[in-house]
């Protein structure tokens, strides 16, 4: 059987995690890595010589699926031209709600034009946690699910904190305080001449932080505090039929970029198996994410 050829776009933490997952998969081949022109040299130094590192996808020959390890805000502009050329895409767009639906509709149109498919929001949350939330709800339709993140580093919030004027480096931790509520602790290295109070206010007023209790601390060396461990606890008490007190709990303790990369790569397999169109992970049968024949998957997991 021909292996599916997968390219990785971007070589940050998540891109590196995706590379590892492709190399470990029995049914996938790494087509290569696509980075921006200015990052070519560094990327080639980081990767072993057998990995093709290019700045344009068309330098890689046949590519079935592109794993887009790029910021959420860049997903649409990177994905649309690839889909229109018939290359499937996977992203880990991480903004919940109506923006996600809008992205799905945009990519769906491009995917149908190009005869390719897109799997969107395919990380762990949104992503595999979304599957779990839906499975809890189908088992006990009435009730509340609490999603408690962390303790762990939030990639998105860290980026926002780093961008504030006067911040040299930053780390934003998400700390669960129970029943779906979170506290954020932001550790910042200040540029000379900046006051903690000014920067703390700028961070707390940002829409990324303004809904949560946020504490900002000045430290000398953010790097010493940084760890990519993360996790979630989801709990639901609900009613099945007319019977109350059905309890479900899902917990993960994971390495954030490794898990995100792995879920994206499992989703690359699923992308190849779907008809043209864009899909959230909830719209794809679970068998599509696993290697092997239908019979072997059913006998192993059912």
């Amino acid at each position: 059987m021909d292996k599916t050829r997968v390219a990785v776009v971007g070589l940050g933490n998540v891109g590196t995690g995706a590379l590892d997952a492709i190399e470990a998969a029995p049914d996938l081949d790494l087509a290569g890595v696509v980075v921006r022109e200015h990052a070519l040299c560094r990327a080639r130094q980081l990767l072993p010589p057998h990995v093709s590192v290019v700045s344009r996808m068309d330098e890689l020959g046949k590519v079935d699926v592109a794993v887009l390890a790029v910021p959420s805000r860049s997903v649409e502009k990177v994905a649309v031209p690839l889909l229109q050329q018939g290359i499937c895409t996977v992203d880990s767009f991480d903004i919940h709600g109506s923006e996600l639906w809008r992205l799905r509709q945009e990519l769906d149109q491009a995917a149908r034009q190009g005869g390719a498919s897109a799997v969107i929001a395919a990380g762990w949350d949104p992503g595999t946690d979304s599957l779990i939330r839906a499975i809890l709800a189908l088992q006990a339709p009435r009730g509340i699910t609490y999603t408690n993140f962390g303790p762990g580093m939030s990639m998105g919030h860290t980026v926002v904190a780093k961008e504030k004027e006067g911040v040299k480096n930053a780390l934003s931790l998400t700390l669960p305080i129970g029943y779906g509520q979170h506290r954020r602790q932001v550790y910042v290295e200040l540029e000379p001449g900046y006051a903690l109070e000014t920067i703390a206010n700028a961070i707390k007023q940002d829409p990324y932080f303004s809904h949560d209790e946020t504490h900002v601390f000045a430290v000398k060396d953010v790097a010493k505090l940084t760890d990519t461990g993360h996790g979630v606890v989801m709990e639901r008490h609900g009613t099945a039929g007319k019977t109350a007190n059905q309890f479900f709990r899902y917990e993960s303790r994971v390495t954030n970029p490794a898990l995100t990369g792995q879920v994206m790569v499992s989703s690359a397999r699923a992308a190849k198996r779907q008809p043209p169109g864009a899909y959230t992970i909830l719209e794809i049968p679970i068998v599509s994410f696993l290697p092997g024949t239908l019979q072997s998957i059913i006998e192993q997991y059912v």
Copy 2:
């Protein structure tokens, strides 16, 4: 929008759970209950007058989906004629492995003939637990998942124990002893003149029990010990990409027949939405099991 009309076949614990779940669903209507001729009278006494209780499916008018609350060994012979007539079916066939694959192939043929669809093995294990097992594996492809059942009453093992000669009533409990291993404790009420030792041997030699450590106890009143609470703990340590020590844990504490009935009814909704054929729960997108529009489901759960 027309509601989906769902019938329930069988009125044991699971059938009653399914009835409750249909009545609680916003998008489903109860078409009625089908029981064997000799059980009609008792079923009519148990149910409120607005519920149609019949002995033949064709007495219920239009039926979209039949929820088969019947023993695993009866699923095939009940499902095939319904599927051939174009009525979708849902069962909770609970034998893992190659027998399940064989049932899927048999029902697939009947379903395609009749233009209907069948969702098979749609309880909690096999069923929603199967989904969880597959989701853990797609997140960390290398590793071991341990499924620990109970403590709780095993319906299948209880039936087998009750059928032994000299047993008036029985209860088989599944007790987890760690890392996927289980002990079974069977409580029996003896008929006069039978010895515990003889019955204990007959139970321990049955293929249902012979693979597990089994203890058999004689008691005066099995009914006083009986509780339908059950649950599972599934744990996986695995590797995502090349990163070890990814940990996942799923736990449920549930009322066995209520949850089984609810999962079957959520699956009735999914059956109606699939093209003709037979499906395990792993082959169907999760969105199909939930009420509401695609956009509302995505915005709520992703």
